[in-house]
């Protein structure tokens, strides 16, 4: 049976709904030994500030039950080096490339967008307004609807490419934030970023992360991510990209069923570096078994 896994986000057509999540896939090329780029939907590259950035001091990682807390703090090479050294190589890959945009201020987000706008080979921008481990108390724009709306609006005005707003789960009302992003002009929404978390070493009584707080990802958070994806997908009219703890095609399909048009796979890449490709493959097997001809037949079909 020929199965059509392609999805159309409106602003971007994907070969299949499986993207690699930002920060868990390096700049993409790190995974060349493990996957065929033409077998996945696309990659979201690591968060980029305008300049190079040191990130947080180590330790930056703690493993928890079913989860990983990270406080990388968005270490990265900056747009310039990225555009010169990485982007040309990414352009040669037959896969969608989305760049995750960071900023320490509204202006910096815009600067990054303006710089990248002059480069070829980027399909969309994912506005990372939701990283919990940059500011000490976990603050980020996506905690507030007004800040979110205003920033999305500026970003949209600044650049020529589609804007995906990446939301934070650390909020009381995710729908309110999603609507603010939509009203601000976002072309799509991706969620969730990591949950603000902490771990303590009982021997030394020190936080296990130098940054004290970090962001929790991995299968532990999947039930929360799925709930939020469902809430948002039923509330907005722009496409939603779901993520959080996806390890298998069944996990990914749960997100599609609650209304996500595509998914991102994050932490799983560390354990099984071929996760994205494997999940896309398993998705096809699932469709075959269930007699589903087009993956889009699954999207938003939850039976309540």
């Amino acid at each position: 049976m020929m199965i059509d896994l392609s999805v159309d986000l409106g602003f971007l057509k994907l070969r299949n709904p499986v993207l690699a999540a930002s920060g868990t896939f390096g700049y993409g090329l790190e995974f060349a030994p493990f996957i065929d780029f033409d077998k996945i939907g696309g990659i979201v590259v690591k968060g980029l500030y305008f300049g190079p950035r040191e990130g947080n001091p180590p330790p930056r990682l703690v493993e928890t039950t079913g989860g990983l807390i990270n406080a990388i703090g968005l270490q990265g090479v900056g747009v310039e080096k990225f555009s010169e050294e990485v982007l040309p190589k990414l352009r040669e890959l037959d896969t969608a490339v989305i760049v995750n945009i960071c900023g320490a201020s509204d202006e910096e987000y815009i600067q990054v967008i303006e710089y990248l706008d002059r480069q070829e080979g980027v399909d969309a921008y994912e506005l990372n307004i939701s990283c919990p481990n940059v500011e000490k108390n976990g603050f980020c724009p996506a905690l507030d609807p007004d800040t979110t709306g205003a920033l999305v609006k500026q970003a949209k005005a600044a650049g020529r490419r589609p804007i995906i707003a990446k939301l934070s789960p650390n909020v009381t009302n995710i729908v309110e934030i999603a609507r603010a992003a939509e009203d601000g002009g976002a072309d799509g929404i991706s969620l969730i970023n990591t949950l603000l978390a902490m771990a303590v070493d009982v021997e030394t009584r020190r936080p296990k992360l130098a940054n004290i707080f970090g962001g929790l990802s991995g299968p532990a958070i999947k039930p929360i991510a799925l709930r939020m994806t469902y809430q948002v997908a039923t509330a907005v009219n722009i496409p939603v990209i779901g993520m959080g703890g996806i390890m298998t095609a069944a996990d990914a399909i749960e997100f599609l069923i609650v209304g996500a048009k595509a998914v991102q796979v994050g932490t799983a890449n560390f354990i099984d570096p071929a996760s994205t490709m494997r999940i896309a493959g398993e998705m096809k097997d699932f469709c075959e078994r269930k007699g589903i001809k087009k993956i889009t037949e699954l999207i938003g079909t939850i039976k309540i």
Partner: protein
Amino acid sequence: MQWDSRAKIIFKQNWNDYHLFRIETPKIAVEARPGQFLMVRVSDTPYPLLRRPISIHSRERNALEIFFQVAGQGTALLSRKKEGETLDIIGPLGKEFIPDWEHLGIAYLIGGGRGIAPLYFLGKELKKLGAKVHVLYGGKTLADLPVKEKFKKAGLGMTCSTDDGSFGFHGFVTDLLENEIQKTTPQILFICGPNSMMKKAAELAAAHKIPARISLESMMGCGFGACWGCVKRIKKSDNGKWRKICEDGPVFWAEEIIWEEAE
């Protein structure tokens, strides 16, 4: 770098908390260099979530050996694997121990506890390259020196030390090193063990102006450069920025390491 999801455990040995596995993995074995490591999946359930980094202890034709000490749940689960079972491993990863020198001369290998793991492969390769190899192997007590005979069998000179004097020199392996440096002049040191021991050894190396290669540990998310989780601040390289232990290390020159930040 290769990925072998069906590397078979063909031999197993253990001494209390210490375990040695021989694993059939031709593609990884052929690429392996001393000082490099593997990322090992210790369970086929989501617990624990991440792979564990383990050094390459030896290469035996198309197999690799690992030697590890149970440190927590992950290594405990690993230790329970049986002969005939398969492991999912990625490797070889990281930079190797041996510098690109014409002539190596007298090489001292200093290993503490589980830190001995990479030194066996290293010792054998150094010997092949014509170096005169002497290994200093330290532990808390005799039981922490399970693989000592192996080195002798491979024709590698070895002196042991125990903190409690139950075997060999009574004292720290770094004291032993200090004694040795009085007697001979090593051209190079290779050091792997607890941070406190490595730091002391690095100080000795610096004091006596002996180049020293040190293998650092770090919490690793991926092991292949994708997560930026394993960084430490390394002097010289790239103006003192955080460097990835998995990719730029785990082996560094002693003088590159900022010990206050190596924890």
